[in-house]
């Protein structure tokens, strides 16, 4: 079992290394003026990036715009990208900053008081255009609950679960103490557990 697990890990590491080499070649190709190579980069990362941005914003149209904007900006600034690094984290940082700029401009944080007053009760309505990207009831309920989370909790939750950021990185990104990251993540999880209990 351990041997098999080790082999799987090694295999995954080899895949990642190959992916990275491919990606470096793609970036070089884009810099050399190959537009198709950029299209490949888009197709490779757009799904994950969209999920992340949608998770932050909870709005399909805005997420769509931010993803497009992030790719555009990434394309424009590709010359400054250090090709030995992974492309996705860099792209995701651009998207994250764009999304945070938008959130800050809108100043639309929901007061946590409101959650305490009315409790956490995700609506059962449809998710709009996101429906086309969702399969099954479990996924439907997960995204409905995620969307209903207070923004402050959802942001931390998404950075942790979708982007796999450490508490320290989240703390630095959001400029909040690690203890606050911890408590918000705990509360986000508690709310989701309550909403999805029968599916876990």
């Amino acid at each position: 079992m351990n041997e098999r697990s080790r082999e799987e890990k090694e295999s995954a590491a080899v895949d990642r290394a190959e992916d990275r080499t491919d990606e470096q070649a793609l970036v070089q190709a884009v810099l050399a003026g190959d537009r198709q190579a950029f299209g490949q980069l888009v197709r490779r990362h757009q799904k994950r990036l969209f999920r992340f941005v949608y998770g932050l914003l909870g709005d399909f149209d805005q997420a769509e715009d931010i993803v497009q904007e992030a790719f555009l900006k990434a394309c424009g600034a590709l010359g400054s990208f250090e090709t030995e690094r992974d492309f996705y984290p860099w792209l995701s940082t651009i998207a994250r900053n764009l999304a945070f700029n938008l959130m800050a401009r809108e100043g639309r944080k929901e007061s946590l008081d409101q959650i305490h007053e009315r409790g956490f009760d995700p609506p059962s309505g449809d998710l709009g255009p996101l429906e086309q990207l969702i399969i099954g009831e479990s996924q439907q309920r997960f995204y409905t609950a995620l969307k209903a989370l207070p923004e402050q909790y959802r942001t931390v939750f998404v950075l942790r679960h979708f982007e796999e950021m450490s508490y320290e990185d989240i703390s630095a990104q959001l400029k909040i103490p690690p203890g606050t990251v911890d408590s918000r993540l705990y509360r986000a999880r508690q709310l989701l557990v309550t909403a999805l209990k029968d599916l876990l």
């Binding site: 790719f71 990434a74 424009g76 008081d113 911890d182 408590s183």
Partner: protein, 427 residues
């Protein structure tokens, strides 16, 4: 089992499941888990939730992705002349065009215009007290302005945070002037009068000594006038104890925005800011309702029951809780303004002359000073609350706040925060 201990450990379960606890804390949680079936259940739920998310959060394959990719490719094609060429981009950064600096220029004109306006009103209303100019020192205001200008241009076009970008700069250009006119029209700042004043002053060309004398007089008089103005205007006393939680970092690629896009974005920002202000006036509601983190978080905490406290201690606790809330409210108010970049420019236009002139002379933002004072007040309030209350949630929040200040490199209250932590037995 101690209820507080249980609640403490329960809140650590998330970090425990993520492997984010220090070894000692981890060992403590493990020890607690042995004796607490409820926490074991909670931990299991968290782990199940993580598995569920891994399983269910991936979005489905769909033709949408191909359509979206093609749309992005088209957008890149359309933007082709404006992007990629790194050499051109680097050259552009070295010689930032006027529109890239337009917001800073606009702010500078506003600033100078406003000061002149205030100077003129002061000159009309008050009798100046002459002071002796320095024979050897250059005009402090000019020196400060020059220093700011150096700072601004040294970054080769790096975008400044808005609070830095709105510092005075000597150069003005026509496009910047247009922006200012729009702003002043919106906000009722009588820039036109200010421009007339400025033109008059430029023609007469005040000497260096006159400039110093005038500045010193303005400070003296503005200090006297500020008391009357503080209620009517956006006062710099409404300072923030901390920066907005989500500080948008404008990334490098932001700079590739074309001219028309940049101007359009500015227009949208202005509109949004006006809309927000109008709504606020109309509703007359508490600003805390839609303000950022600090206030909503602080105020979302239920007041703890001061069990086991003497009457005096209870009264003290009530006082410090009220003081904390009041300061948090002040902090939140300014934070809301900080969220809107254009709001900051407009706020500068509304600031008393004292603020502007002092900034020019000392290089220190009055806003920053009052922010620090509010932060110091909040620190003390939290420290007292931590001492008095037995509510662990309050204590955790208080310690978090104090720790945040203690580790903030930019905070002038860092030392005080460290002392408070020491006195609370936290290091």
């Amino acid at each position: 089992m101690n209820q507080l201990d249980h609640s403490y450990f329960q809140q650590r379960l998330s970090a425990y499941a993520d492997g984010e606890l220090e070894p000692s804390a981890r060992a403590q949680v493990e020890e607690h888990l042995h004796t607490c079936p409820e926490c074991r259940n909670r931990l299991q739920e968290i782990e199940k939730l993580s598995e569920f998310i891994t399983r269910e959060s991936g979005l489905a394959e769909s033709e949408y992705w191909e359509q979206a990719a093609q749309r992005i490719e088209r957008a890149v094609e359309e933007a082709q002349p404006k992007i990629i060429d790194l050499k051109a981009e680097r050259t552009r950064r070295r010689t930032s065009p006027w529109w890239w600096r337009a917001p800073a220029i606009a702010a500078s004109v506003l600033f100078l215009g406003y000061i002149t306006l205030n100077e003129s009103s002061i000159l009309r209303d008050e009798v100046l007290t002459p002071t002796q100019p320095s024979e050897t020192e250059p005009a402090p205001q000019l020196k400060a302005v020059r220093s700011e200008t150096d700072t601004k241009t040294s970054g080769s076009g790096e975008e400044l945070p808005i609070e830095r970008a709105i510092t005075p700069a000597p150069a003005m250009s026509e496009p910047g002037q247009e922006s200012v006119d729009k702003l002043s029209k919106d906000q009722g700042v009588q820039l036109e009068a200010a421009q007339v004043e400025r033109t008059g002053r430029q023609e007469s060309g005040p000497s260096r000594e006159e400039s110093i004398e005038l500045n010193q007089s303005i400070i003296t008089l503005a200090e006297e006038k500020t008391v009357d103005r503080s209620g009517a205007r956006t006062s710099p006393d409404l300072a923030s104890a901390s920066k907005p939680e989500v500080v948008p970092q404008v990334v490098e690629p932001e700079k590739t925005a074309p001219e028309s896009e940049q101007l359009a974005e500015d227009a949208v920002l202005r509109k949004e800011d006006q809309k927000y202000r109008a709504e606020k006036r109309e509703k007359g509601t508490s600003i805390l309702r839609d303000t950022p983190q600090v206030a909503s978080e602080l105020n979302s905490v239920e007041e703890p029951e001061a069990t086991g406290l003497s009457k005096l201690q209870s009264e003290k606790l009530t006082y410090w809780l009220a003081r904390r809330d009041s300061l948090a409210q002040q902090a939140a108010k300014i934070e809301r303004q900080n969220l809107s970049p254009i709001g900051q420019v407009l706020r500068l236009a509304e600031a008393p002359a004292k603020a502007g002139v002092k900034t020019a002379l000392t290089g220190e933002e009055p806003q920053q000073k009052t922010q620090n004072q509010t932060e110091a007040g909040l620190l003390e309030a939290w420290y007292q609350i931590c001492r008095l209350t037995s509510d662990s949630t309050e204590v955790n929040r208080g310690v978090s706040f104090i720790e945040k200040v203690a580790t903030d490199q930019e905070s002038s209250n860092r030392e005080s925060a460290r002392n408070y932590l020491k006195q609370l037995g936290r290091h």
